[in-house]
Symmetry: C2
Subunit: 351 residues, 2 copies
């Protein structure tokens, strides 16, 4: 995806509040001590794997030069609390919990998907072994629940979090099962099934992050529901954009090989949308994918069959749904504006 | 261990209430519908793996002929509620949660330990693959937290459960690390470290089970603490007896090969206690273990160095601690008597 195509997703992005990188930085700085304190309560070996996974250290425990993730989920939790009119610190326990859950899910997903690298480093199971990586994920999971259960007013938060976890597992299960499904015929994966999978796998935790912050910030139910819904739509948008980058993204920016997802035969939204379209390009694409044909040719056929346009339209629809969810809710500025510009920033990650 | 040696552990077992097998049956029958309902909420594929792991079905979903586990943890939860003066049904949510956590931990532990069979069937990772088994464990974990978080009055229960989960991970981490430690020298594993590992790996969840039932049954804190403590000591006793059976148990009863634990070089209590003893037998044992010597000879040396006697004394000490914990607490009959006879039954599993 090029800068110009991403600008089409949302031409009217807000510019009246702190820029998304600054917002992400502010939240990371705020949450880091509590996150480090939580990780420090783990068994030392499990804690090292957690810190490695968070990008804080190398194998053996030496401080890492690189950086971890963006910290999107912790930022959503902090902004959720602020949007509810509470101080940022009210969202910190929620931020720690969702960051721990996210780290757990990356760790276990990398085992399930057999991915050897993440953020240009060996994945935890590659660096420490599969068994230890399973254990480290379990430790992070338990710590997330414990953190929230011990937070003042955390009881409704635990319900939200455990619901999101159940959905996350459901989404991951569907994603794993999609791999074995055919490209054509009645058993093929339809775009609607993909959307449900992405909402479970990515949307549920993003929605939970924002909603959890709001719950700990004392928000009314209507604000909690709006933030939850916004996060879910964001998750689907995020996943669809990720799929577009996996086919047409610049490898120098994405860190992924050209047409990598097509080469691996991944069931991504643009491909599924292309296959669901009428016309000869869709049929030729199905034949090509069934025979493990040339990825560049497949990318061209996905585009010809309208898969790229459909993905862009889907990302736009989901982004609009994020805005609609936030528009009617009793949420405070500037947090809600920062939330909005963060959402825009995320679906334009190619910039 | 023979019937006569186990009788030495506790010569004064209670006989005034329902027999342990009947108590276990009663609790299993009571909890089964709620447990089945919870498992039915999982993604169908994850649910099948869970049901397979619980002994309810074969791979593919056909009903299983065999039986699952004893259901000890669910029984502790139900008896915990009854001992608090509440009806049995008050403990059902706790029973479901701890049974789900136990199933999760077996599933993930089998991956970490590379065990290919459990209860004479392939383990989940062997039958379904490592990735799916990781996922199924995660699903069970999330479901356990969700079940408790949604139960009336479940909030303090979630704190108890998440604390137990953290300890369980800590115990499992120590257990995995023990495997790489030497048999002699300053880095060797001492009996006290083993005890702490067993308390985390086995005791924390048993203590949590009984305490959770009591919490949902509205017990006073002193009763909750007593049940928690009793379960922890039971866990260590259970583990030590398991270790004895792993060396001297009758393979026809245990389903494990003769001297299996010695052949695998497991750091079990009798061996560690033998190595910690003064005298030539301990030194000869260390040399033999370091050279992967004859398991039968090792078993004889463990006994000669006092490892078997030390393990029996440890099991007796822990069983006495269980009784002491229960003795002073405000717990109701007949539940507390059934609890006591269940505990006795468990440390005499060879019968």
């Amino acid at each position: 995806m090029t800068a110009s195509s991403s600008a089409v997703i949302d031409p009217g992005a807000s510019a009246a509040c702190a820029s998304p990188p600054l917002v992400l930085d502010r939240c990371r700085v705020l949450v880091r001590p509590a996150l480090a304190e939580a990780v420090g309560r783990l068994h030392p070996w499990v804690g090292e794997m957690a810190a490695y996974s968070l990008g804080w250290c190398e194998v053996g425990g030496a401080p890492a030069a690189g950086s971890g993730g963006k910290g999107l989920r912790q930022a959503l939790a902090v902004l959720g609390a602020e949007a509810a009119g509470a101080p940022a610190r009210a969202g910190v326990a929620a931020a720690v919990a969702v960051e721990l859950v996210h780290t757990f899910s990356l760790l276990h997903d990398d085992i399930m998907d057999g991915d050897p690298t993440r953020r240009r480093r060996p994945t935890v199971w590659k660096a420490y072994g599969t068994g230890p990586a399973v254990l480290a994920g379990d430790g992070l999971f338990a710590l997330a629940v414990e953190t929230l259960a011990e937070a003042p007013g955390g009881a409704p938060g635990v319900r939200l979090l455990s619901g999101a976890l159940t959905e996350l597992v459901r989404g991951q299960a569907d994603d794993l099962l999609f791999a074995a499904r055919p490209w054509s015929g009645p058993e093929r994966v339809r775009p609607a099934a993909y959307r449900a999978m992405a909402e479970g796998k990515t949307g549920a935790l993003l929605g939970c992050a924002a909603a959890l912050g709001a719950v700990l910030g004392g928000a009314p139910q209507s604000a909690v529901t709006a933030l939850e819904r916004a996060g879910r739509h964001l998750g689907v948008a995020f996943q669809v954009v990720d799929d577009m980058l996996g086919i047409w993204g610049d490898p120098a920016v994405t860190g992924k090989p050209v047409h990598g997802d097509l080469r691996e035969g991944k069931k991504t939204f643009p491909v599924l949308a292309a296959l669901a379209s009428p016309g000869p390009a869709a049929r030729r694409l199905a034949v090509l994918l069934e025979s493990d044909g040339d990825p560049a040719e497949a990318a061209a056929l996905v585009e010809e069959a309208g898969g790229r346009a459909a993905a862009l339209a889907e990302a736009r629809r989901q982004t609009a749904a994020v805005r609609a969810a936030l528009a009617g809710a009793p949420l405070r500025a500037p947090a809600v504006d920062e939330l909005r510009s963060l959402l825009d920033f995320l679906v334009r990650r190619d910039l």
